[in-house]
Each structure stands twice: as C-alpha cells, then as structure tokens.
Symmetry: D2
Subunit: 265 residues, 4 copies
C-alpha cells in the first residue's frame, strides 16, 4: 500500500487551474506579479504560490477560488480554437477504441485546434509519440506553442503536410486518427503507416462522409471490423426531489468510423 | 521520422485475436496442438504460429480468419462476466474525465467483472497502479487470474475489502472510480484517498442513486465541479445509398457522476 | 358540466381489449360461445358479455383480465403485419404536424400494414376521408378487411395504384402522407393533389432517402418550410428508489420530412 | 374520387400564416388597412386580401412572403406564453396515446399557456369538448381570448379551479390530461372523472415527479397499463452531400406517464 507524502506546494512557473464555479474556471501559468482578472474580482498569482492543491484563495471581492492541478480536461482550455473541435465524448471513445497504451506511436491528421493531439499526448505519455499533420501552417504553429508550454515537445512532432500525399517515411504506428474533410482520399496512406492489425479511427461530421469513407475502406480490401458510431451526451441537473436532464444539449458533433488494417493478398 | 522494422511473427504463448467476422471474434493464447473450434470450422493453433499480424488463415471449412494483435477492446473478451459490466462508451468517458496518465495511481471499487480494472491497467501502464476492491472474494479471484494471464500482475493490486469501511492506509491517489450500489456511503473514504484537486468518477444505474450521490457529495463539502452525465451510443449500418442507424440500441446503461476533491476548512 | 350516465354494458359483436398484463393484451370481437385462449388460461366470451368496461373477469386459471374499450393503440393490434410498420412515436408526430382535423380529406401511399391508415381514419372521423394507395393488391385486401371490421369502410377508400403515376382525378386534399421507397418520384403527384398551403409528410428509413427527397422538394420549387425530423423514444422502468430507462430501446425507425405546398409561378 | 373546386380567396377577418422563411413566420388576422411589419420590410393586409392560399406577396423591400392557411402548428403561435409550454413532440404523442377521436370529451389541468388545450380542441373538433382547469385566473383569461379568436369557444370550457379539489360534477370523460406539479394529489379526481377503461396522460418535467406519480397510480389500485415515456427530437440539416443532425437540440422537456382506469373492487 502506498502513502503519498509528497507536498505539492504550488510555485512560480506551475500551471494551475483556478476554479470559482463551472463558468469561471481558468488555466494559468503562475508568474511573479501576475494577475488573474475575473468578473468576480481579481486574484494575484503571488497569493496562489505557496498554497497546496485543493486549497482556496479569495478574489479581491472575497469570492472563493479553488486552486486545482490541471488534469486533461483543464488543459484543453489552453488551446486556441482555430477550427471546429472534437468534444470529450468523442475524443474519449476514439482513444478507447484505438487501444493505445503508454509508449504507443500514433499518427493524427489534421490536428486542427489540437484537442485530440493534446489528449493523445497525455495518454501515450513521455515515451510515446504523436505524429501530427495539418495543411495549415498557422494552426500548427499555434498548437506547437501550446504543447511546448505544457512540456509535450518531446512526445509530439507536428508537420505541415497533407496526409493524403504523405511523402515522408513513416510506418508501423499503433493507431491512425483522421479528422479531415475527405478521409476516403487518405485510405492508401493510413494502410501504409499502420502496423498490421491495428486500427484507424476517423471522425467526420456528415452522414455522406461516413458513407464515402466506409465504402472506400471496403473497396480498398485491407480493412476489417469496420464500424460507425455516434455518441449523444446528456448532462443532468441534479437536486433533491427535482432531478432532470438539462434542457439544451449538443445534438450532434460527428460520427466515428473504426476499422482495422489487415494484409490483403 | 520512425520506421518500424520489427517483425511480429506470432509464436506459442502469444495472445491473439482471431477475427472471422464481427460475431466470430475470439481471443486465445496459442498452445502447441491447440484447436479453436467455431461454427465456421476449426483452426489449429499451429497454423497461426509463424504468421504475421494482419494475415489470414483458413478454417477447416475454408473460411478466412484474420489474426490480429489483441488491443484493449479485444482483451475485454478474456474477462468472465461475473456481474453487470460497464460498457466501452462509459468506460472511455470515465477514463478521459479522470485525467489519468501513464504512471497514475488509482483506486477502483467494486471491480466486478473487471472491464474498468483492465481498461485502467491498460492506460496507466507498467509504471502505474490500480488498487481494486470488491467485497466478493470469488470475483476477485476470477479477475486476478485473467489479469495475470495478460501480464498485468504488477500494475494491479486487488483486495477483498469494503471500500466504505476501508481500513488500509492508502492515500494520495490520482483518481477514484466507484461502481457500488451506495456510493454515498463511501464519500468519506474517497475524500481521504484522493490527492487534493483530483477527481472521483462514480457510475450508477438509477436516477435515484445519482441524486443521493450528488446530494452526499455536496453535503460533505469537500467536492466541487460536480457533474452528472449520460451517454447514448448508436451504431450505424452503412452501405452505398442505404445508410441508417441500427434498429436496436442499448437505451440505458448507467449515469456518470464526476467531482473533484478540495480541502475544506 | 356533463355527467355521462350511459351504461356501457358489453354485448356480442363488441370489439374489446382484454388486458391481463402488458405482454398479454388482446383485442377481440365477442361472439356467442367464443373462447380466448392465453398462456394464463382461457376466457369465455360469454363471461365478458354483460360486464362494464373497466371490470375484470377471471381466466380458467383464476388470473384477472380487465375488459377495456378498444382505443386507437389497441386497434393497431387488429392489423396483420404485411410489411414494416410505422411506430406510434412517428405516427403521432406525423399526424400532429399535418394539422388534420375532424372532416379532413387526406391521401396516403403506400398504406402497407395500415398503422397510419387506421390512425388517420381515427382522427379524421366519420366525416373525413382517407384515400389510401398501395401497389400491392394483397396488402390492400388484408387491410380493407380489418378496416371494415372496425367500421371504417365509409371513411377509408383504398386503391391498388402507384402514387407515382396516379391517373385518377384527385385534388384539394388537406394533407398527403408518403411511405414509399422513392418519394422523390412522387413529388409532382403530391403537389397536384394537395390544397395550396397544406403539408406533405414523408416517412423514409435511410438518410440517403431523406437527402434525395429534400433535394427533389427544393428543386421542384413548389414547397416551402421543408424540415426533417427524427424521434427517439425511451421507456422508463419506474419503481420507488430505482427509476431508470429501460436497457433496450428502438434506436431507429425512420425520418420524417415535412413540407408545405405553395403555388409556384 | 373527389375534386375540390372551392376557391379559397382570402378575405378580411381571415386568420392567415405569412411565411417569409422559417424564422419569419407570422400568424395574423387580416383587417382593413392593417400592416405586418418585419425586418424584411412591411406587408399591407390589403395586399393579401384577394389572394389564394399558397400564393406569395412581396414585402415593401421586395422579399417574397407566402400566404398559408393556418394549420395547428401555426395556430400555436397565437398563444401568449404565460408559462413553460409542452412541445409538439410531446403533445402529439400524448394525444395519440389518449385515443381521442372527433367528438371526444376530455379534461385537462393545468392549461397553462394552452398549447395542449388548443391541440385537443383541434382534434376533438366542433362536436367534442375540452374541459380545461387552471388555478391561475389570469392565464385562463388570456387563453380564453385566444381560443375565442380562433372560434373554439363552443368546444372549450375553461374553469379557474384546482383539479386536486374539483367540486364540480364531471364524469365519464374519454381522457384526462395533467400538467401540474403534483399529479399524485389528483389521482382520486382523475379516477372519478374518467370513463372506465380510458386513459390518463400525465406530463412532468422531473424524474422524481415521474416516480411519485407512478407509485401513487399503483397504490390507488384503479389503474393498469402504467407506462412512462420520454421523447427526443432531432432536426436535420439536409443538403446534397452534407446531411447531418443540427448541432443544438432540446435535450429535455418532460416525461409522459400513461395509465388506464379500471374499476377496483
């Protein structure tokens, strides 16, 4: 049995999550003299330093703000939204289906805002590798900065490249993730880079893209166990005697297509 | 850029996934002279040995069977169902929300059939640790065998114990997962074992359990960011010109309650 | 204020619903000497005659069976399933959207098993009219018998005809309902038979049919307010302290396309 | 076969639906000199008079506006929202389950904004009757005006009264509809006013209300075939090659409880 006796005193340079309430939840890096401004008052970074995680400070208006260690869902807030993102309900299922483990090497295209890139980096760990591709140089730059800020430089390698016409010598990866408008044009590539028996996970927003992708995977002949999924997430408002789903929900994000590479002879 | 030149010749002792079609998908360990019997003919283990992953063998009736490396979703098939299981759509979201990374130490109770235990073991990796608890000794034994078979002995520690009255000295874990009938009676324990700022993820099948759990978390005072989720998964039948969701779906499995520990003063 | 003093003594010739439990719910016409056999024992029709609605009789094995007046949902059980049916969740929304009232004249094609025909007949009432079309003569015959049995001969007129090539002189109807494989080939017809401003309601099982139908409606130019809907129905298992959705649900039946005719110049 | 040769020339006093697009859809009564102002320009009522349904007029800015006959879904727009409303997806299923036909007599409480009242009035027709109750006099007044405007005075009778303590002599109705916070306190009343064998349809927003209602119905003993339903409606964005569900949807409105009265001895 383990007893963790580390002290987690927060110090300058740490990235922390500041939680006032579900709508006022900020992820910041602590700098000497820094200020976090909110509509509930401001907080001096200097007041956070020296605290332990889980403790609260007060804003200038006396409102409690808890200081939390930044876990994966917090870290997503550090990414600048340069395009439509993939939501946690889909990210989680894609990652689970992929079967990746610490140390896995994976390919991802297009990286876009990087919600999936960051999530993959978190799950493959320091000895894993995420090869990320996007045709948009600016997006790659913005994402690279955020990943570097999080200390993920070593485990993520980003390339400005078109996965559909990949020239570079890359093969034997444990999973491929695609979020591009025309995945059917990347089928050859994903078959080439995947280790035999391992899965491709493709995310597309329309039913037409699902159909074209699945038909292309079947026609290629080198994929089996082809499945298409859709996830709906409902959040509940819970209180004693008055529990019910929330009125508004996201009715649609995208579809997830799953397939495993085999060797076709 | 990486080129993987390892050869993955399959040999005796390997655990492989044998895929005939989506309904005939078996996970077996290869033994000399072994036979896999199916309603599409049998396969001799000896014929699988020497193949590479992704290649196919033929059953005695000439049907193609692909040999795949066992990834997480395959491995779940090795567990003997001793109780209601948690499905991948829920497992994946619970694990994602938890923020665990390679090396994380987590607590899980009750382990039941072990779908979550095995999934956690896969994601925390060889340097992580899953402390699993269940009051049913037989279940623990059955699960221990399966995990040992998979080589997960070092990363999983199973205990016959009641999480609600945990006597052992355990604290500072990165996440707690509960799947017990009365999580509201384990709130003290989960607060004690969690590292400050880290999350508890609770799975319950009825709305009443959701309500009691959320009320107990609020009354305890040491939890923030309390959320309740429900996921619906639809699978699609895709074919050119005739794409539609499948007729039958699982309409309900359970609800997921999420909360993060803070230090209450 | 109304007091209903009618006595509803049940007599021979009446159609009644016999309810033992949700799985043993029968709709029968009472005949002298008749017997209703069930796996919970049999019931003599003669024992039902003379009862009032809402009263119970006992089966030969002493099990209670309630005698209920047959309302719409009961009457559906009288139809012999000759093809895939439309479910109440969809029937109800289609009828609601159509705006039909007592006395409305409507067109329906194809009638199939007749769940929609019967429902429409019930809502338009004795002074309304349902013109039903199907290319399958046998289906029409089977449905005609059932409707006649229910006394709906006057309000339903069934034709063995192809709605896509309708030769007969029919126009000015208050709503058109389509459940055919290729509604896009019937757009001209439905525009011709509809009263200006009134709606067409089209039911199709695949997304591809939705797309082709909507595109055809738009290209025709004589339809506005085009909408596509999908309904999911969950049933709940309710008991004190253990309320939850049922495990299995129908994940998909079909999509509903709605459009209103305008005069295009 | 019927040919409808009526001419539907629109005249002063008519209630018409003016449709510019899905967001600009107005229901108005035409008066001499009247003006309909919209953000796409104004329309003079005088320009609408003399048109046929389905024809278009132009706004002052030259935008096309179609003149449609007001069907049920249009008429709902005439009601002033005095409280949370029941949505068409639920209204339609409640009405379908109730089995009402032209001429039915039904009880409804509380009427609230009147979406259900108006819908019931439309389906029971001129020879049917809706007895509506609400404890809020102002709401009743507002609703009465709207129903009178629509010519439904004869078929709807509204009362300022508490259904839970109904003193008036009313019985033998074909269906009872409840949308009150505590339906479990009205079980006695609904059993008294219902004709034996006929259904009660109860709408409640929370799971707790569902549970209390179902338990009360069971404990009363005079109800069978008790079911609880929930409906989810998704709307689709359809276009050639890019069809998908809309991003936002209503995730929850309420639950529908259904039960049929029997005579308990």
């Amino acid at each position: 049995m383990m007893t963790d006796t580390r002290t987690d005193r927060i110090t300058y340079g740490d990235i922390v999550s500041v939680y006032i309430d579900d709508k006022r939840n900020f992820v910041i890096r602590l700098v000497r003299g820094g200020i976090l401004g909110t509509d509930k008052g401001f907080i001096k970074h200097d007041h956070i330093v020296g605290k332990n995680y889980g403790e609260a400070v007060r804003t200038s208006r006396g409102i409690k703000a808890y200081i939390l260690p930044p876990i994966l869902v917090d870290k997503l807030k550090l990414l600048r939204r340069t395009t439509q993102v993939i939501y946690p309900k889909d990210l989680s299922f894609m990652i689970y289906l992929s079967g990746i483990t610490p140390g896995s090497h994976v390919v991802e295209a297009g990286v876009g805002t990087g919600f999936l890139t960051l999530s993959l980096a978190s799950f493959v760990g320091p000895r894993g590798k995420v090869y990320g591709f996007d045709i948009n140089e600016k997006r790659i730059k913005i994402l690279e900065e955020a990943l570097s800020f999080l200390g993920y430089d070593d485990r993520v390698e980003l390339w400005v490249a078109d996965i559909r016409r990949l020239q570079i010598d890359l093969s034997g990866v444990d999973a491929v993730f695609l979020d591009i408008p025309d995945p059917w044009n990347a089928i050859q590539t994903i078959h080439r880079v995947l280790k035999p028996g391992f899965p491709a996970i493709i995310y597309v927003p329309t039913v037409n893209q699902v159909e074209k992708t699945v038909v292309a995977l079947r026609e290629h002949g080198g994929f089996i166990s082809i499945h298409t999924y859709e996830l709906l997430l409902r959040e509940y408002d819970v209180s004693k005697g008055a529990t019910r789903p929330q009125t508004l929900m996201i009715g649609h994000t995208g579809y997830i297509v799953y397939a495993r590479k085999v060797i076709c002879k």
